[in-house]
């Protein structure tokens, strides 16, 4: 199944986390990809998905951007 992708780049606190929570609630489980463009957002979103039982794998795409590939079965 194709993962759902959220682009949270350029959004300020707390939008990335808010979007992540919303997506996790709607999906329940599965494969969610979240793009962020700074370290602080990456940390915040990581804490949020872990708190909901999702497992994130974080990859740095370039100088600024990160992708969090999150899974929950």
């Amino acid at each position: 199944m194709k993962p759902t992708t959220l682009d949270a780049r350029g959004l300020s606190c707390p939008q990335p986390v808010l979007l992540a929570f919303q997506a996790m609630r709607e999906m329940g489980s599965g494969h969610l990809e979240i793009l962020v463009d700074n370290e602080a957002s990456q940390e915040n979103v990581r804490r949020a998905v872990v708190s909901q039982g999702w497992t994130p794998t974080i990859t740095k795409l370039n100088e600024n951007d990160y992708v969090l590939r999150c899974e929950k079965s």
């Binding site: 780049r9 350029g10 300020s12 606190c13 707390p14 939008q15 986390v17 600024n64």
Partner: protein, 363 residues
């Protein structure tokens, strides 16, 4: 820099350490000469800086506070070292300027930023309970807007000079402080204004203030310490990470004040505070909502400015202008109570914030 080192302060232990350290240092700064129960209040010190450069002429609150300059420069240093300096901006700059103004006006009706809410509580000032209540209500109103899709728009990458602007302004102010040091008994030294009496005349030695500012700026950039975010994240997500820093600041400052004999519980006669409970509450509702809509308490805005975030920098400049307006127009409170136009300021500010909130909701 290795990743292990990089994230130590962005853990629960890390933020408790940073919050606790700020609390202890704040208590100690009062011993070193800073005003009682103020120590490192971002709103009060921003207001003092506005006075020092002549934006307002309230004679008792004029001092170019090195702590604030240090916050930005320390965060700038941390962002450079850890490769997080990133010039961004362009997310509703004028709205952010107005949010900065209103945040400062609300904070000066209460007489303190969220840091000072905590530090006043830690010093035994019961009036700060109403400020804390107002802060929580203000942030809670902000979360209602977030749930309705409130968003000031995406920021974009900007030129290096845009990101350097506020750190350079702060460095420039620091140069002025070295060029024109205070002269005992004189209200002016070169282009800078100084208080001869009042809170603006209470300050720790330059080296101590600057070192504390730089140190806290560095650590807070790493840990993302934010008092508004602490309350917001608990209400919105039940996430306690930032709240641990908030609570650590309170507990550490309380403990240090006990040890140093600076804990004096009561409501009357508290340092640089008034007892009009409703306006203590309402001022902080306004400030709390403005912080929430802008995405950070005044301290966090300074730290983000150091990371090259010009949206935060515009909030900071707005807050300096807000401080000037608050004193020039009689909106700011004093130990005697609210200013002659403090009530009007709170009401108008609240209406403006609600207007900004409603017009930026998607759904």
């Amino acid at each position: 820099m290795s990743r292990g080192v990089k994230n130590i302060l962005a853990t629960t232990t890390g933020i408790i350490f940073v919050g606790g350290l700020i609390g202890v240092v704040a208590a100690w700064l009062q011993q070193a000469g800073n005003p009682a129960n103020m120590a490192i209040c971002v709103a009060c010190f921003g207001r003092d800086i506005a006075g020092a450069i002549g934006l307002h002429r309230a004679a008792v609150v004029q001092y170019l506070r090195p702590e604030i300059l240090g916050f930005v420069l320390g965060s700038f240093g941390a962002a450079l070292v850890f490769k997080e300096f990133k010039p961004t901006g362009g997310s509703s700059p004028l709205i952010r300027f107005v949010l900065g103004m209103i945040a400062m006006i609300g904070a000066l009706v209460f007489l303190g930023c969220p840091w000072r809410v905590i530090l006043r509580l830690a010093g035994g000032d019961g009036n700060a309970l109403f400020g804390l209540g107002g802060l929580i209500v203000g942030v809670w109103i902000g979360t209602l807007f977030f749930k309705k899709g409130f968003n000031l728009g995406r920021s974009q990458g900007q030129s290096i000079s845009a990101g350097l602007m506020l750190p350079l302004i702060m460095a420039g102010l620091l140069v002025l402080r070295f060029l024109f040091p205070p002269i005992p008994g004189e209200a002016q030294s070169g282009v800078l204004w100084y208080s001869i009496q009042g809170p603006g005349a209470s300050y720790a030695p330059l080296a101590i203030s600057l070192a504390v500012g730089l140190g806290i700026g560095f650590l807070a950039q790493r840990s993302r310490f934010c008092t508004m975010g602490a309350i917001r994240d608990v209400i919105l997500f039940n996430q306690w990470y930032l709240m641990f820093g908030f609570l650590a600041l309170l507990v550490a400052a309380l403990g240090a004040n006990m040890v140093l004999g600076q804990f004096h519980p009561g409501f009357e006669g508290q340092p640089i505070a008034h007892t009009m409970w409703f306006w203590n509450f309402a001022g902080m509702v306004v400030a709390g909502l403005a912080f929430a809509l802008a995405g950070g308490c005044p301290g966090r805005q300074l730290f983000m400015s150091g990371e090259g975030n010009s949206d935060a920098a515009i909030f900071v400049l707005g807050s300096l202008v807000g401080a000037a307006v608050a004193h020039n127009f009689g909106l700011a409170s004093s130990a005697q109570g609210i200013g002659p136009h403090g009530m009007a300021a709170v009401i108008i500010s609240m209406l403006v914030l609600l207007g900004i909130g409603i017009t930026h909701c998607k759904r």
